[in-house]
């Protein structure tokens, strides 16, 4: 039997208004491979409170901004960023 993993586990970070929507600022999700950023967002939108997340929020993968097409790898840290309001 092969031991090839069929899922990928990533860490999701939520901030500001999005953390309030989901009631958490950090959670782990498991996705079927191949998984992309958009799949993680879709999963989050299915969580209680997650329906108010936009379909295409600003996202950063391992501290760099990414598009919804970006593939996810085990151990990735995906941050979902509300509209920025520093300054």
């Amino acid at each position: 039997m092969t031991a090839v993993a069929s899922t990928v586990t990533i860490r999701v970070l939520l901030f500001a208004s999005y953390a309030e929507l989901l009631g958490s600022d950090s959670l782990e999700i498991v996705l079927d491979i191949p998984a992309r950023v958009r799949d993680a967002v879709e999963r989050l939108r299915a969580f209680p409170g997650g329906e108010r997340l936009p379909a295409k929020p600003l996202c950063a993968l391992n501290l760099t901004q990414v598009t919804p097409d970006t593939p996810l790898r085990p151990g990735d840290e995906l941050a979902i960023l509300p509209p920025l309001s520093g300054g």
């Binding site: 901030f15 108010r52 990414v66 920025l84």
Partner: protein, 163 residues
């Protein structure tokens, strides 16, 4: 470190960029204002994605220093700030004033556009709203902010509590 939970020490920020070569020094301070769109604000609460915010601030400072032959000092506060508190401070020093003003302006605009920092306004009537999220206009329905193509988005609010 570009982010700090403590009050910003302007004297030490100035010392970072002063040099015998620098004859023009420009600064920008963003302070907490007591009103927003006709409503009375009593404080702001800042939070950040700290490792990414530090990296982005460093990139912005490097860009400004490369473009204008200047030295730039930058600090942004996080945590709870009260009316009049300095939330962000930028000091740019160059041989002449034109470069210093240009670098200072560039840095504040890019900080607002690119650095993952968020603030919520606490109003005198007890309401609390995240700036730029569309709260108040879309309360109870709709999506809280969206980036159509995955690139930077500025806050959707036409005015900010810090100028």
């Amino acid at each position: 470190m570009y982010l700090t939970a403590d009050p910003i020490d302007l004297r030490s920020l100035l010392a970072q960029v002063q040099s015998p070569r620098h004859g023009g020094i420009a600064s920008f301070l963003g302070a907490v204002r007591d009103h927003q769109a006709g409503r009375s604000v009593i404080r702001l609460e800042y939070s950040a994605y700290q490792p990414m915010a530090e990296a982005e601030c460093a990139r912005i400072v490097r860009e400004a220093e490369a473009q204008w032959d200047c030295a730039v000092a930058l600090k942004h506060r996080i945590g709870t700030l009260h009316i009049g508190d300095v939330a962000v401070a930028i000091i740019a020093a160059s041989a002449h004033r034109d470069e210093a003003f240009a670098a200072c302006r560039y840095v504040i605009e890019e900080v607002k556009r690119r650095v993952p920092i968020w603030k919520r306004e606490v109003f005198a009537d007890g309401k609390v709203e995240w700036v730029g999220s569309g709260e108040g206009r879309k309360r109870g329905s709709g999506e809280l902010g969206s980036s159509e193509d995955g690139v930077e988005v500025a806050g959707s609010s036409p005015e900010k509590s810090v100028k």
